[in-house]
Each structure stands twice: as C-alpha cells, then as structure tokens.
Amino acid sequence: MGAQLRVYKRRIRSVTATKKITKAMEMIAASRVVKAQRKVAASTPYARELTRAVTAVGTGSNTQHPLTTEAENPTRAAVLLLTSDRGLAGAFNSNAIKAAEQLTERLEREGKQVVTYIVGRRGLAHYNFRERKVAESFTGFTDEPSYADAKKVAAPLIEAIGNETADGGVDELHIVYTEFVSMMTQTAIDSRMLPLRLEEVVEETSTKGEILPLYDFEPSAEDVLDALLPRYVESRIYNALLQSAASKHAATRRAMKSATDNAGELINTLSRLANAARQAEITQEISEIVGGASALADATAGSDN
C-alpha cells in the first residue's frame, strides 16, 4: 500500500472514532434535556404558588420591607451569573458571560459598584483569568441542580441584601442566566430579582384577570413577608438553575450534532481522496508494467537482429 493511501486510511479511522464519541454525547445530552425540562416543569407549581403568595402580601398590605422598597441612592449591586461546569456546549457559556458583562457595564455607568457571584466552573475560570474579583462562587452541581444547591447559592445573596450597604451589603440583586425557550432557542437574559418590582410580579400572575382576595395574615403581614421573600429568592434561583441546566444540555446536543455532521462530511471527503490515491497507485503500477514489458520487448527484438 502506498504511503499516501495509508495516511488517508489512518485519518479516516481517527475521524470515525471521533464521530462515534460526538454521536454518543449528542444522544446523552438529548436525554438529559428531557430530564431537565421535566424538572423545570416539576418546580413550577411551587414557584407559581409562591409568586401568588408574594403578590398577595405585596398588594394586600401596606407593609414596607427592605426587600421590596428601592434604596434612594443605590450604590452597590450584586450580580449572580449562572454558567456551566463543563464546556462543549457551543456559545452557551460565552453568551451568558457576555450578558453579565453588559449588565455590569450598565450598572457601573449608573454609578453602582458591582459585586459578582458566579455559579459554574466556566464563568469562574473566565473571571479568574482576567483577574476580576469574584465575591463567591459555586461549582459542581450545574448539570443537575437540586433545591439544596439553590439554597446554598441564595444564602450569601440574601445575607448581602439584608446588610447595610456601608457594611458590605448590596442594594440590588441581579441574575444572569440562560432562558430555555425551546430545544433550538436559548437566550441569555438578565433580570433584577430584588428589590421586587411588584407590578411585574402582579402582571405575571394575574393574566386571568383574577382579583386577589383580602388575606388574613398569620402571625402578621411583616412576619409572613419576612419568611416569604427569602423563599421567593431561592425558588427564583432554583428555577434559573434548572433552566440553565436544560439550556446547557440543549446547547451541548446542538454542538455535538454539528460535530457529528462535520465528522461525517470529513469522512466522505477523505474516502474520496483515498479512492483517488488508490486509483492513481493502480494506474501508475499498470503504466510501469506496460512500460517495463515494452522495454523488455524492445530489448529482445534488438538482440534478435
């Protein structure tokens, strides 16, 4: 076998192996998307009821709470960025990071100091490489976040928002995550979690045009709100984590699908080149034989004379 043909054969073998791997990863990601979507759906009743309750307290009483009132002069804002632990997901992480950077820039232009919190190794690596300060980071659960993980993430944020701004607290809490729109579309979005914009929450819940009844609060409206808002933040973070996970798997699936397709195309091109090389080799061999035979014939014809 010719040297060139051997090189082509070797490359085809290696690309075929790669294709098998990316195909497997694509299928794993596809099954995980479904699982993650199911988890998002399972967490919806809790989030819906909690939002309803928050709306009820917010609209049904005139309670003033630090988590619902805007600071007159916000000077510090916390940004929570949700990325994944592992890459191989196309532009998933870079989109989220880009959204976070745009948000940070906007907040800084408004004269606010930004404190960054990060979930996921990818985002953390990005910030560490640029030597930017990260207040706190959480890794190791982005593929399948549990509610306990969301609590862990929420705890320092709730503490920071409860503190006075002068003692290292923050006035605002923003979150950047990747919203799972559909299998094909995931968009990185940012939203302000706290202080709560009650009008927005009301809009979300009362699409049916229902009127919320006047609730009796047990023990009191303040206490209920005190207990309710941290849970609300946790549930929002949990929902964002789940959506991020679903988006990440969908992005991985798409990236791996195009990798598989590209590998297939590469195999096609390489086999054509290998065929051409083989054919060229045969042609050369034939012409060598023919040339050799006619040279031999010429030589014997010459000696006869």
């Binding site: 399972a42 809790y46 009821e49 309803r52 309750a53 509610y147 009796d216 047990e218 849970r231 949990y238």
Partner: protein, 125 residues
C-alpha cells in the same frame, strides 16, 4: 358553602399530593390551625411538623412538612414547603437512625427534621 376544599401540597421540586379534603390541620408559628371549606382567605407561616388532611372518604393523609407556608383562598388551599413527604413515604427505621445520629452529633437541624418525620409517620398509622 362547599363541603370540600381543594388541597395542593407542593414541595420545591414536585407536587406531593393534591385532592379534595374536608379539613386540613397544620401548625403555624402562632399555633395549630384547622381549615375547613369556606374559611376566610389566609396566609400563614408554617412550622416544621405534621400536616393532617382529612379526605371526604373519611381517610386521612399525613405529611411531614419542613417549614413553608399555608395559603387559602377561593376554597383552594396550598401548602408550600421546601421539603414535604407523605407519611407512607417515610422510612421509619431510617428516620430513627437519623434521629440517633443527629442526637449524637448534636445537629439540632437534622434532629428536628428526623423528629418531624417520625411524628408524621406515627400519626399516619
């Protein structure tokens, strides 16, 4: 007045139980509260403890609820909890082990959780 109210017991990651009931007893921070159909709209903070739901067929459903809220309006009652388990889902032996371990390690949080589980499991029998 309707004779039944609709109950949804929801944990952070799943819907634990939902159905009709004639009476729901839960423990709020200011004491036990019983909700029957037609109760006035209510929103309260729950303590960790067992929640008892009486169904129209005369049966009872007991669940261990670890913190959360109770909200009632329009004959719909929602019980929201970070963690909620039905009494027949609770592994008594496991909970007892947990309780012993928590006592040994002086982990009040885990001890409380295990205690609530055991109380709900025994009440459900």
């Amino acid at each position: 007045m309707a004779a039944e109210l609709h109950v949804a017991l929801v944990a952070a990651d799943r819907e634990v139980w939902s159905g009709e009931a004639t009476l729901v007893v839960a423990r709020t921070t200011s004491g036990d509260i019983g909700v029957m159909p037609g109760h006035q709209p209510l929103l309260g903070v729950l303590e960790s403890g067992p929640v008892t739901i009486r169904t129209p067929e005369g049966g009872t459903v007991v669940a261990a609820v670890h913190g959360g809220f109770i909200s009632f309006a329009d004959n719909k009652l929602s019980l929201l909890a970070e963690i909620a388990e039905l009494s027949d889902e609770i592994d008594v032996q496991h909970a007892e082990q947990e309780l012993a371990r928590a006592k040994a390690e002086d982990d009040t949080e885990a001890q409380r959780r295990a205690d609530v589980r055991l109380r709900a499991a025994t009440a459900g029998r």
